[in-house]
């Protein structure tokens, strides 16, 4: 009963999602190997340093610099021979690939696992997290993604052996053209300890700078509601919620966010929630540990000017 982790790399670093996947896999199996698809063999070093990994399996090819899902899913399905579990973190990287692997293996994957109850039984959210379901699979091979906010992020300290798999890279029927990445010096949204999040109430892209200023003061990441992203105040990768990113920081400071259930689904597990809003009836306010009912611009100006 061994497990294979599909590793997601950010540059040469192992993502927090993958580290959570290792923790989840450790509750399923004593033998955990890691699979890396990359164009750069030197990426083996950060993966072999992960604690708890037996063997790092590398598939290295120039074409893997930008993953084609059709190619990756074939390679992963082939690499699954001998493994009972394929585990990866819930991210757009895995959500794109793992279901396709599941189809190739004739397996029904399990999305967004939040708790491992047994080798066959898992807890996962339905209805934007308003319902938690305990599900039991009858598949022989289990393919799953796990929520990075629900499992500890496994650390370094290992020295796994590295094995290069010589795989024939299949022809691809799609091609990468470009990646428009958001550059930011701030902490990464899904792993940040503090998040300052802005909503429609900010009114404009220019005003959203006040959120950025406060985030810098608190050494926090920036988040946004769907309404703020739809209105073009900030790009899509900052969206928190059911279809965006799921976060659980120590501090979530929501400014001008009314709190649609789809947004609450993405942040309700935050340790401390602060709401700044002038609407006392907003659903967001009931979620708050601290509420400041005020014109949000007055509040942001006062906070940004405050000498800590």
């Amino acid at each position: 009963m061994s497990a294979l982790i599909l590793i997601e790399l950010n540059g040469s670093e192992v993502s927090a999602n993958s580290r959570a996947a290792i923790t989840a896999a450790s509750q399923l199996s004593d033998t955990i190997d890691a699979l890396v698809l990359t164009n750069d063999a030197s990426n083996a070093s950060s993966v072999s340093a992960l604690a708890g990994i037996g063997t790092v399996k590398m598939i290295v090819d120039d074409s893997l610099e930008h993953i084609n899902v059709e190619v990756a899913s074939r390679l992963i399905a082939d690499a699954m021979s001998g493994y009972s579990f394929l585990v990866s973190g819930s991210s757009t990287f895995s959500k794109n690939i793992l279901p396709r692997v599941g189809a190739l293996l004739d397996v029904q994957p399990i999305s967004d696992v939040c708790e491992v109850k047994s080798n066959k039984t898992f807890v996962r959210p339905l209805y934007a997290g308003n319902v938690m379901a305990t599900v039991e699979t009858s598949d022989e091979t289990i393919v799953m993604t796990v929520r990075a906010t629900a499992f500890e992020h496994s650390g370094d300290g290992g020295s796994a052996s590295v094995e290069t798999i010589s795989a024939t890279i299949p022809e691809s029927n799609s091609e990468f053209i470009s990646l428009q990445e958001s550059e930011s010096e701030r902490p990464e949204l899904t792993t940040a300890e503090r998040i300052v999040s802005g909503g429609r109430g900010l009114g404009s892209k220019e005003n959203f700078a006040l959120i950025e200023q406060l985030a810098d003061k608190l050494d926090a990441a920036i988040g946004a509601s769907r309404a703020a992203v739809d209105a073009g105040f900030i790009s899509n990768d900052y969206q928190v919620g059911q279809t965006g990113k799921v976060v659980a920081p120590k501090l979530y400071l929501a400014v001008g966010i009314s709190g649609a259930i789809q947004h609450l689904a993405g942040m309700k597990d935050s340790q401390v929630i602060v709401v700044i809003n002038n609407d006392p009836d907003a659903p967001m306010s009931r979620m708050a540990d601290l509420v400041w009912q005020v014109d949000l611009f007055d509040a942001l100006n006062e906070l940004n000017a405050y000498q800590v």
Partner: protein, 253 residues
């Protein structure tokens, strides 16, 4: 070029899901149902492509009991040309693998070159069916798209994908499957005349049992519990100083 748009009937997204403690399932009896919002976006995109002259026909497909016909009528009223209703006699717990197998059958039968569907349904939030369908029929795949541009010869499509690190642009060869994200378009409303007209549009019914697809559940829901947002203390504060003092005491700064 034929476009297939799979659509799903789900609990109205603005309605709170309730658990029936006896059956240990989400209770949909008498609940308000609607087309999955991501499916509406998929329908809108297909209609836009058809209106631009690049598609010959748009076909909505849904699977379920007789009530599912409502969802297909909604798609027809929005402007889809015809519908295929895959009928089940009872409420089955169909999972993405089953749905993908059923859709694969329909797509082959129709020889459709393009499938446009929602990236997830807001009931089970699986985010799997499009990807699985692509694996079964080996169509190229573009998930979570916020932009769709067909090449002038209709042999490929350029899509923008909303991914965790930003926006990825890819070129997909046809035939292709795309799963749509929220910002692709604003779905239209069905006008009253179009709702009337939809009643006479063609709808083919196919018995699921006639397709010879194994639909035995792979995953069983053992139990469910409501875990909605819990109200918190909501202590009122009135100044930046007060806020920073509280946050310091809580140890979160």
């Amino acid at each position: 070029m034929k476009i297939i748009i799979p659509v799903k009937r789900v609990l109205d997204p603005y309605t709170q899901a309730r658990v029936n403690k006896q059956t240990q399932q989400v209770d949909l009896t008498n609940a308000k149902m609607a087309m999955n919002p991501f499916c509406e976006i998929a329908v809108e995109e297909a209609l836009t492509i058809k209106e631009s002259g690049s598609a010959s026909e748009t076909i909505a497909v849904s699977i379920g009991t007789d009530k599912t016909v409502d969802t297909l009528r909604t798609a027809l009223a929005m402007g889809v040309d015809r519908a295929i209703f895959v009928k089940t006699d009872t409420e089955l717990d169909l999972q993405p693998l089953h749905v993908a197998k059923i859709l694969a059958n329909i797509i082959k039968r129709e020889e459709a070159e393009l499938v446009i569907m929602g990236k997830q349904a807001v009931d089970n939030d699986n985010n799997q069916t499009g990807q699985m369908l692509s694996g079964l029929i080996d169509y190229s795949l573009g998930t979570f798209i916020s932009k769709f541009e067909l090449s002038s010869d209709s042999n490929s499509v350029e899509v923008c994908r909303e991914i965790d690190s930003g926006i990825e642009t890819r070129k997909l060869s046809m035939p292709a499957i795309v799963t749509v994200d929220l910002r692709l378009n604003e779905p239209r409303y069905a006008s009253l005349p179009n709702i009337m007209k939809a009643r006479s549009k063609p709808m083919e019914t196919i018995e699921l049992s006639s397709l010879d697809i194994d639909t035995s559940p792979r995953i069983k829901v053992v139990s469910v519990e409501e875990s909605g947002t819990k109200d918190r203390a909501s202590k009122q504060i009135n100044s930046a100083e007060e806020l920073f003092t509280e946050l310091n005491q809580m140890g979160v700064l």
